[in-house]
């Protein structure tokens, strides 16, 4: 799961020293899971890195692990384990109770230093400990579009012919496109379409990622009090479906394109929209596409038949 086992081990050792076996073993399991779950519930992200569970979110091909997440969990776990073991080495009550002030102070001191150090190292990390992978490892071919992928993405079937066909389908339909396609999970820019490709992608996934790269990263703008936000999400869902259906010409059966799940109404809206003629759909997309990225105009009505 990506979490460091030192703290659960130490908790188990401490409980085993002072509680009967029938209680200490299940409680060690219980407390360890509660610790993992508790860190996950905290909105202050550095706390999540103390247990290390969040490292499980790493990594897709186009991302790499931020090493601060590993340092944070190792620093916290090591020092906290020392604190717990210091308390565990106290003889049991029945023998000789000897939690001296010095021992208690040292144990608490280790725990405090562990927490401060762990939080300090993890400071600035986002919800996931990933960062973009270096661009120098990309393998690029072609011109207009120039397609750049990582070597691992070429292990299965080469995704670039499918991407090229989908790209040309969109361009023939009049959709404005950058001259390059790059595999990356960073924010889109005008110089390149940023696509996310798994190691063995299906045609459907490739078409979807290319279509989704043409809508803004936040999918739909949140304008004012957000009253029209659901409607803007619906527009984005239908726009993505249209882009998929155009990009997938000759690659996919139109019925196999699942509507985006941006809103609960997506499926019915797409179904009605899909009955329009090709020209009507195209006209709607070009009228609606400016509203996908800014709040200056109201969201377009979605026609259906």
């Amino acid at each position: 799961m990506g979490s460091d086992p030192h703290v659960p081990y130490s908790i188990g050792y401490l409980l085993g020293r002072f509680l009967p076996v029938a209680a200490s073993v299940p409680l060690a399991i219980f407390v360890s899971y509660c610790w993992l779950g508790f860190t996950w519930t905290v909105s202050y992200f550095p706390v999540r890195y103390l247990s290390g569970l969040v490292i499980a979110a790493c990594c897709s091909v186009e991302t790499t692990l931020d090493e601060r997440s590993v340092v944070a969990v190792i620093a916290f776990s090591s020092l906290t384990s020392i604190a717990l073991l210091l308390l565990a080495t106290v003889p049991p009550v029945a023998v000789h109770w000897s939690v001296t002030p010095i021992r208690a102070t040292v144990a608490v001191g280790f725990a405090v230093v562990a927490t401060v150090l762990g939080l300090n190292v993890a400071q600035g990390l986002a919800a996931q400990p990933v960062m973009p992978r270096g661009q120098d490892e990309l393998v690029c071919i072609g011109e207009a579009p120039r397609m750049c992928v990582y070597p691992e993405q070429l292990q299965g079937e080469d995704p670039r012919p499918t991407l090229e066909t989908a790209y040309k389908n969109l361009r023939e339909e009049g959709v404005a496109l950058p001259s390059a396609i790059t595999t990356s999970n960073t924010k889109a820019d005008r110089s390149s379409l940023r696509v996310v490709i798994s190691t063995h992608p299906s045609t459907n996934q490739l078409v979807y990622t290319l279509a989704a790269a043409l809508v803004p990263d936040d999918v739909a703008p949140y304008c004012g009090d957000g009253a029209d936000y659901p409607k803007r999400l619906d527009v984005a869902a239908v726009a993505i479906w249209w882009l998929q259906s155009v990009a997938g010409k000759g690659l996919l059966d139109k019925s196999s394109i699942a509507p985006s799940t941006l809103s609960p109404d997506s499926a019915s809206l797409v179904e009605g929209f899909g009955r329009l003629s090709a020209q009507e759909q195209r006209d709607w997309y070009f009228a609606a596409s400016p509203t996908l990225s800014h709040c200056r105009s109201a969201p377009m009505e979605i026609p259906s038949r």
Binding site: P20, A23, T41
Partner: protein
């Protein structure tokens, strides 16, 4: 020879039941401990307080009985076996009284309390079955592991994020009768296994004692 046995610190068990029930009553409905969910529609799903409290009560009870048994290891008698079986029933009675008291005070029976009672029935039954074969120390572990395994693998992909498979009844947030069936079945099975096993064990003890007497 001692002809009775007591669990160590039974007040702690009763206290855990009372405090646990109070926590379940007081906890807001949305409270939960997120656990990775490998089977459900979401990557994480929460275990609600009633399931966590049920685990703690079960662990406290088996630890108490285990400690009591250990202190009188030579008095393996029918009374000991009877006492051990009575302990789960005692926990259920105390919890039931708390639930009844709350129903009288608040005028309604809250869903989490019903779910706590269901989980206690099932987890104590599971412990009773295991105690008969493996001894006391694994009874508390079984309930802990079963709840967490249910949370990780027991969510179903259809429907809501917190729907559960029938076998994952400890984390089912529904009071549907279906989820009571496996819990009740476990308790009945546990009680039967316990009584049958202890009767056999008691018979063996009596035969051994008779043979020892004859040898003397």
């Amino acid at each position: 020879m001692k002809w009775w046995i007591r669990s160590q610190h039974p007040a702690w068990v009763v206290g855990t039941v009372l405090l646990g029930t109070a926590v379940v009553i007081a906890a807001p409905g949305s409270t939960g401990l997120p656990i990775p969910s490998l089977a459900g529609p979401t990557a994480f799903a929460a275990i609600r307080p009633y399931a966590l409290v049920a685990v703690l009560i079960t662990v406290a009870m088996w630890a108490s009985v285990s400690a009591g048994h250990k202190s009188a290891v030579l008095s393996t008698t029918r009374l000991l076996k009877f006492y051990v079986f009575v302990s789960p029933c005692g926990v259920l009675v105390v919890c039931g009284l708390m639930i009844g008291a709350w129903a009288i005070v608040a005028g309604e029976l809250t869903t989490p309390l019903q779910l706590l009672f269901r989980d206690l029935i099932g987890l104590l039954g599971l412990g009773l079955i295991l105690v008969s074969f493996t001894g006391y120390r694994y009874a508390g572990i079984s309930s802990t592991v079963y709840v967490f395994v249910s949370a990780i693998f027991g969510r179903t992909s259809g429907g809501g994020a917190y729907d559960s498979a029938l076998w994952a009844w400890p984390i089912a947030d529904s009071t549907a009768f279906d989820y009571w069936i496996p819990a009740a079945a476990l308790f009945v099975t546990g009680a039967l296994v316990w009584l049958l096993r202890s009767r056999d064990h008691y018979s063996r003890v009596m035969i051994n004692q008779a043979m020892d007497t004859r040898r003397e």
